[in-house]
Amino acid sequence: MTLRTSTRTRALAGALTGGALLLAACGNGGGDGGSDSGETGGGGGEGGGFQPSGTVTMIVPFAAGGGSDIAGRATASGFESVSDATISVTNIEGGSGAVGYSNFLGENGNPNTLLATETALIALPITQDVEFSYEDFTPIMMLGEDYTLIVAREDSPLQTCADLVEKAESERTVVAISGETGLDNVVFSLMEEETGVEFDRVPFESGAELLTALLGGEVDAISVNPGEVSGQIESGDVRPLCAAAEERYDYELLADVETAAEQGIDVSFAQFRGVLAPGGITEEERDYWIGVGQDFAESEEYTTYIEDNMLQPNTAFGDDFTAVLSENHEKLSSIIDGS
């Protein structure tokens, strides 16, 4: 049974990677003669001939003030500082991000539009009847990764994630999640898969609501991004049990928090944040934006953004970012289909 699932997902991943390569090839072929010479020149560097004309639009598919908006604005201003481009941010909200991505799909071939992307890019096509998938766009840059912390209230008897799993083995253990496609649901599902226990879930809408439920003693544990609870951890209202990450955080506040793997539960899953360009742009145009992204990643503005939001500064560009997306897709679709 498990064998069959894993074969299927592997086949799926293969098909996806193939698709992505095909898309890249199409993008290349779609260009004029100039792009051929660009290719022979090595393709890297600062983008040769292409320069964005007029104002570049950065679409944020979520409302202003949220995590995506903060990422989109930080990237837009960072990109402006390291290039000649003028970038304006537009929030196109609706449909949990679907409206923004669908609008972006209509910009096919337009190198003067970018989009601030995150997990909705992968989750929406799996769960909803939308026209796009990540293969329709040109991945430019992964800004960073946001892992989650599993936390409990300060007066909880739980000290570690191992305690949480142990509790779930013998009694009803309630966790709050932010919807089925939420990063937290993914993390708890992976923990269940890994340990064989089962958590009862109560669905909420946002990180703030999760925190209210935890502080109000409604649930035993929640899984949230560190940026969302750093204040409460520092004040001692909330105790981190473990980090569902590959390695420990460098941030002073979180340096002592063990990873789930250290506690014998081999679970980690990251939410990515990044930048997409529309599909169907030329190799030159793509390389230009990748070049800008690489310069941004070196800048002080980038470091400030990452540290203020407690992200992990894991960057990836172009095809490497595509690979991250396809891995994400594989993991997410197996969890959502499987539950």
């Binding site: 003030g65 769960t127 309630v174 003693g217």
Partner: protein, 500 residues
């Protein structure tokens, strides 16, 4: 406490910060007046502009936009029946009726005065009680929220007037429309017919602009050539009697709004509806409410402002936003490198106290601005309706576009406008529909969460003392009008029997 207030005064009363406070409340008033641009959107749009400022100046200005827009939003509701924000929908009832009776100036003045009273009282509450209240509010989990929402739905009865069945029908329609989109906590899309635009559900404010503003315009066009409302200068000022009648409703509204603002998940809109319902039950002039009574303006408007201020309590003490707008403000804290959370009062005392003290000055500025402006704004109604309605339609369309930055929302406004027109024509009340629409998603979410917490059973509501009490109160409120109707009929038949 005194030290803290002095520290706050020191921070807030610099020429620079007072200037940004003024700028914030003026911008807020304008944003509030424009339909579609609510306080949350307003703060979010202007957030990037403030990035170059000192954090305290920026936050004073952004908070000013928030409470300033609460003042502004009532203006367009009262004058042209076009609510600027969901929390001023209730003012389209008695506020707009007052305007049609030639009392627009008075309605605006009452709105401004009760806003000010509520703001100052709730601010005192905020400063004195923030810490204990915030902890207490955490006791309100999903079952308690569910009970409060049912209590809110019970107020529909008071909106329905004579025809309760129509009111309940419209509330049901509102609940049904709110089901459009992805179900809360799941991934199933409902009633979207494959449209991406419907995945997130209908934009509540767009439906509201349609039903109230466009619906009213169509209604007036059909009635044809109504004369502009003649308001003599004397009529523009609020009378002593109107003021006297407004005090008690404003105080009740303040209390109600303060409690609803602190609680997670309830919010200002529900507070305004409940305040209106309360006035309809307890006010001495309850038979006049719905026909242009000052009580119907003072109560809801006070509860709206009190709720806005109270939503700062969980925001500042726990780092959990108390409303959509304070969520954006928390985002602003992070952008400025400040870490919101329980330690904010200790780590940034000058910032927090400076911000709170600035609320006093901001509200004072708003009162000074709004009182003399009330008769001026009221002059708008002297414009013949044939010139006024294209402007209303224009504002409605611009507001709709501003909501989602897409044209789909404009269509929502027009379709809702047609609905609103037919509702008016066939005398179906609009307020219960709006209440259903607002409460629908909250009700569903609370229901799903309560049942998940109870392991599939809703009996958990009656196992927790707080939610049990609230739920019993809600059921009583729902049943009360039916019981009293039956009693009245019983008494009448008894009396007629004696007569014969």
């Amino acid at each position: 406490m005194i030290d803290n207030l002095l520290l706050g005064l020191e921070t807030a009363v610099t020429p620079e910060n007072l200037l940004f406070c003024l700028l914030g409340v003026v911008l807020g008033t304008i944003i509030g007046v424009l339909p579609g641009l609510g306080s949350a959107t307003g703060v979010a749009i202007l957030l990037p502009v403030t990035l170059t400022l000192d954090p305290i100046s920026a936050l004073i200005m952004l908070a000013g936009i928030y409470y300033g827009s609460q003042y502004g939003a009532s203006t367009s509701s009262i004058l042209i029946s076009t609510p600027g924000d969901s929390s001023s929908v209730v003012l389209t009832l008695d506020g707009y009726q007052m305007a049609r009776n030639g009392r627009a100036g008075a309605a605006l003045a009452i709105a401004a005065l009760s806003s000010f009273l509520a703001a100052i009282l709730s601010l005192i509450g905020l400063i004195a009680l923030a810490q204990p209240i915030a902890r207490w509010a955490l006791n309100f989990g999903p079952p308690e929220n569910l009970a409060i929402i049912v209590l809110g739905l019970a107020t529909i009865v008071s909106f329905a007037g004579e025809n309760m069945l129509r009111g309940i029908t419209m509330a049901a329609v509102g609940l049904l429309i709110s089901m459009i989109g992805v179900a809360s906590g799941f991934t199933t899309a409902r009633f979207t017919f494959g449209s991406v635009n419907l995945l997130g559900g209908l934009e509540f404010v767009a439906v509201m602009i349609g039903i109230f503003a466009v619906g009213e315009v169509l209604h007036q066009i059909r009635r044809g050539g109504e004369h502009p409302i003649r308001a003599r200068f004397r009529d523009l000022l609020v009378t002593r009697e109107e003021l006297g009648r407004s005090v008690a409703p404003a105080l009740r509204g303040t209390g109600l709004g303060f409690v609803m603002g602190v609680l997670p998940g309830a919010g200002a809109t529900l507070a305004t509806f409940m305040s209106y319902g309360v006035e309809k039950q307890v006010s001495k002039f309850r038979h006049l409410i719905g026909k242009g009574a000052p009580e119907g303006v003072a109560g809801p408007e006070a509860s709206n402002n009190a709720a806005a201020n109270a939503s700062f309590i969980p925001t500042l003490t726990l780092g959990i936003p108390g409303s959509g707008t304070t969520a954006v403000l928390l985002g602003a804290f992070i952008v400025f490198g400040l870490q919101p959370g329980p330690l904010l009062f200790e780590q940034q005392p000058d910032l927090v106290w400076g911000l709170l003290v600035s609320f006093f000055f901001g509200n004072l500025i708003l009162l000074v601005l709004n009182l003399p402006l009330a008769p001026v704004f009221a002059q708008v109604l002297r414009i013949p309706y044939s010139y006024l309605y294209p402007m209303v339609l224009f504002i409605a369309v611009v507001g709709a576009f501003a909501l989602g930055n897409n044209t789909f929302t404009i269509w929502v406004v027009f379709v809702a406008g047609l609905l609103g027109y037919f509702m008016k024509r066939f005398d179906f009340p609009a307020a219960p529909l709006v209440l259903g629409l607002v409460l629908g998603p909250l009700l569903e979410r609370a229901l799903v969460q309560t049942s998940a917490l109870g392991g599939g059973s809703l009996l958990i509501i009656f196992e927790r003392p707080l939610s049990a009490v609230l739920m019993v109160a809600a059921l009583l409120a729902l049943a009360a009008p039916f019981v009293s109707a039956v009693l009245r009929r019983y008494r009448r038949t008894n009396r007629s029997r004696i007569d014969t």
